[in-house]
């Protein structure tokens, strides 16, 4: 007998459903926020070294690419928060499968509204 598992490798066709993509979004947003937070605290820490250092950094954040990254970050933060609430209901209230695509769509909707509101505020 040959004891070989997963001879065909990862098959993405079995992952093509809302629950898996919600997991992926939650994981990506979680990792992104983990990387962002130290940078955020470093930026706030610039205030301790004087007004010029903080102002210099804030001027740097006016670049279009940094602004676009901030909008994406707000989207990920909102998605992680709303997705986390969804998970809490699944795990603590035992919410069943039938509602999940609607709940996941709502998570993406909330995140999009938050990101667009932030973008309008920047303009």
């Amino acid at each position: 007998m040959t004891a070989r598992t997963n001879v065909l490798g990862v098959d993405w066709r079995t992952r093509g459903h809302a629950g898996w993509w919600a997991f992926a979004l939650h994981r990506v947003s979680g990792v992104a926020l983990t990387l962002f937070l130290p940078a955020h605290f470093w930026a706030l820490g610039q205030a301790l070294t004087g007004e010029a250092a903080l102002s210099g950094f804030l001027a740097w954040t006016d670049q279009p690419l940094v602004r676009a990254s901030e909008i994406a970050l707000v989207f990920l933060l909102a998605a992680h928060l709303a997705g986390g609430v969804r998970l809490l209901f699944v795990e603590f209230r035992g919410w069943r499968a039938g509602w999940q695509p609607s709940l996941i769509a709502a998570v993406v909707g909330i995140a999009t509204v938050c990101a667009l509101s932030f973008a309008l505020n920047l303009a």
Partner: protein
Amino acid sequence: MPTDSLAARVWRTDIAGAGAFVSYVVPRSPSQTVLEVVTYIQRRLDPTLAYRFACRVGMCGSCAMTVNGKARWTCRTHVQAVARDGVLEIAPLANLPVVRDLVTDMREFFDKWARAKGHLTPTTTRHDPLARVAPDSDKRRAVDAGIECIGCGVCYASCDVVRWNPRYLGPAALNRAWTLVNDVRDGGNRERLGAVAGDAGCHACHTQQTCTERCPKHLTPTAAIAGLKRLTALAALRGELP
């Protein structure tokens, strides 16, 4: 290719265990199932093809395979529903060792049921009166929601956590544990909760819900695993885990 035939790509292994897809042309028939396609190939085209089935009516759970990328029970899967452009790709279940062609070794799958304490621990003997369980009680309803599992392995083969952590007990074994946790006749919950609380147990689940998405019996292993997460957490707080 005429539309009254089907191109079936079937995973075949050689004596050394190496595998590849081999193409067969199979005639279409009304209400044809994937299992009928595999059977046609074995009986008419190549008798060396190895596959497993028994009941053919969705009860025994032995004919599950990967059909066009997704684990399915082949006896109840119509070709019409899954064959895009008349092409069918049939492979063994993922996350299990391949014995030959489409046959997987299910030992690890069922060993995990035993590891999850998936057997009743009786609290009475045959001399005691039968237990009376109200059909509309919460616990009986929780058992009902998960008890129809046929052990086909579709959820196990679809689970990313099993792929990433081969020791993970998997959705079917945890679903079985949950039905016993809610069985008022059972006396083994302390050991059972201990068995499903470890690194390879319920807390490893990432709630991707592919098991629930793919279960041919429309069970919700995700809800069962969530229930075990709650109970094991409570038991840990109370210092009741062995």
